[in-house]
């Protein structure tokens, strides 16, 4: 029994900012960065199973079909058709919300894709050891109705992730909700946010360093796409970011205060709260909330580092975040003095 209740929505811009940040954060690894993005996919699948958006199954076809259904129901795409003609496979994706982000990343020269549906599907097929013929992309286009069409040629071999031909084509059982074009269902956002942390938790505390890199990319996205002009003062920047994320539906209101030794953020009706609760329950203190990551990036840019983040979840979805901060810009490490101390023990 899957959990398919009517959903809350969140602006696509909030989700896109995180997905853009993720793709940019791993570009330094080149094509290997895709494996890091696939880790997010593993986390997305975990979340969907945990929240019963997916039924556990040993059958990868069932799982990927259910996964597609989840993304369709949450307005991330309207449907996918796959047709084979000889050695050519044509895949048409209707109402694909990732399309503009895909174009933006492509324009930046990125070879990575962070589409949550794709990376989650990749995670399923890889972890279940699915193999099939090698496929070579031969063309892609966007039709006048917005449908994204890509063609692949079967190139032989058996190293590819799966045989696309065996994907069930009948998705008619899915009842896509009429979501606004610039929104997605909150569960998709939650799954991605959970996936970001769960996917990198195996790295331990240093995963936050990788997640912090997302913050830099997110700011780039907001500046370029929404002409967000961040002032030099960290507090003003953080307030400006908070205001953006309130308009995107991350919370009903967000209050930010920054002093020389701490920062605090108060969220009212915070749409990240369910993810946060799940992570804290699992003993995970890493954060993936896009606003939190951008505030960390802003502070770091000002020579300030965040120590342990302290979350307090109140009634319903009201959440307070305390960030003790230290000034590292002028940090000194006196090698001679410490060396003497080491010798003395």
């Amino acid at each position: 029994m899957t959990n398919r209740e009517p959903k809350e929505t969140i602006q696509l811009s909030v989700l896109d900012s995180a997905l853009y940040g993720a793709a940019r954060a791993f570009e330094y690894l080149g094509p290997r960065g895709q494996a890091m993005l696939e880790k997010i996919g593993e986390g997305i699948v975990d979340y969907c199973l945990k929240e019963r958006y997916l039924k556990p199954s040993d059958n990868w076809e069932e799982l990927t079909t259910e996964l597609t259904a989840f993304f369709v129901e949450n307005g991330y795409l309207r449907g996918r058709e796959v047709v084979r003609e000889g050695e050519i496979i044509t895949e048409a994706i209707r109402g694909y919300q990732y399309l503009s982000l895909k174009k933006k990343l492509r324009d930046k020269g990125s070879v990575l894709y962070s589409c949550p549906w794709c990376v989650a599907e990749d995670a399923i097929t890889r972890t279940m050891g699915v193999s099939g013929p090698r496929l070579r992309a031969i063309s892609e286009e966007t039709l006048s109705d917005g449908t994204y069409v890509r063609k692949h040629e079967i190139a032989g071999g058996s190293e590819s992730k799966r045989d696309v031909l065996s994907i069930p084509l009948d998705l008619s059982f899915i009842k896509a909700e009429a979501l606004p074009a610039d929104s997605v269902g909150l569960p998709v956002f939650e799954a991605v946010e959970y996936g970001l942390v769960r996917g990198y938790n195996y790295l331990g505390a240093q995963a936050q360093l990788l997640l912090d890199n997302l913050g830099i990319g997110i700011i780039e996205f907001l500046e370029e796409e929404f002409q967000l002009n961040l002032p030099h003062e960290p507090e003003k920047s953080a307030k400006s970011l908070a205001s953006f994320y309130v308009s995107g539906g991350l919370a009903d209101s967000i209050e930010v205060d920054i002093s020389s030794s701490s920062a605090s953020v108060e969220f009212t009706n915070y749409r990240y709260a369910a993810v946060l609760r799940a992570l804290l329950d699992e003993g995970i203190t890493l954060a993936s909330c896009p606003l939190t990551l951008t505030i960390r990036a802003v502070l770091r840019n000002a020579g300030l580092a965040v120590k342990e983040m302290k979350w307090k979840i109140g009634d319903r979805r009201d959440v307070t975040l305390a960030l003790p901060i230290i000034n590292v810009a002028g940090q000194q490490f006196d090698e001679d003095r410490v060396s003497s101390m080491m010798d003395a023990v």
Partner: protein
């Protein structure tokens, strides 16, 4: 991955006596690389000091045990487990925080002094320190540690996850280590 890491470590360090290695670890294969590295050192040196800033030593012990590594030969300096004050036991010391580089140095020095036999030291990882510290301070810290390891006659490895160039400390540290190994 485990065996290839191990293989490549052994090949890379062949001929080096008590090598001090800067291990640049691919984040995708981090766990396997750490296990491979540890397997290499535990196979050569009877005693090891493992400084963990990433995962609590209790978690690491189980992982290493599962991988067939003799955990009994390791002493953990743990700067990640949340403890109200320093807690020292026979196989570990928990410091409670990774933010103070000086304390970390002193605790490491104490741990090394506990054992008279030949030992190795693994620091896991410099990347974590970069979350809380300026990269120049981290580079100085690592430089001092490498210098001390040489003076103590201790082999070992400073780990760092492969990062983008902005926060990369590899260039600054490479000259102080015997070898930079990509895992």
């Amino acid at each position: 991955m485990e065996s290839s890491s191990h293989g490549s470590i052994a090949e890379s360090l062949e001929g080096l006596e008590k090598p001090i290695v800067l291990a640049l670890v691919d984040p995708i294969h981090y766990q396997d690389a750490v296990v491979g590295l540890l397997r290499y050192f535990t196979g050569k040196v009877p005693r090891g000091i493992y400084v963990t800033l990433n995962k609590p030593f209790a978690v690491l012990s189980k992982t290493f045990e599962k991988a067939g590594i003799s955990v009994g030969s390791l002493f953990f300096v743990d700067a990640i487990t949340n403890v109200p004050s320093v807690q020292e036991e026979s196989s570990s010391i928990c410091l409670g925080s990774a933010t103070d580089l000086s304390n970390l140095c002193i605790a490491t020095s104490k741990a090394v002094n506990r054992f008279s036999e030949e030992k190795f030291l693994v620091l896991d990882s410099l990347s974590t320190l970069l979350i809380y510290n300026d990269h120049r301070a981290v580079a100085k810290f690592a430089h001092l540690l490498a210098e001390k390891m040489r003076r103590w006659g201790t082999s070992g490895s400073l780990l760092t996850v492969e990062m983008n160039a902005e926060r990369d400390v590899v260039l600054q540290l490479a000259p102080f280590c015997d070898k930079v190994v990509k895992l």
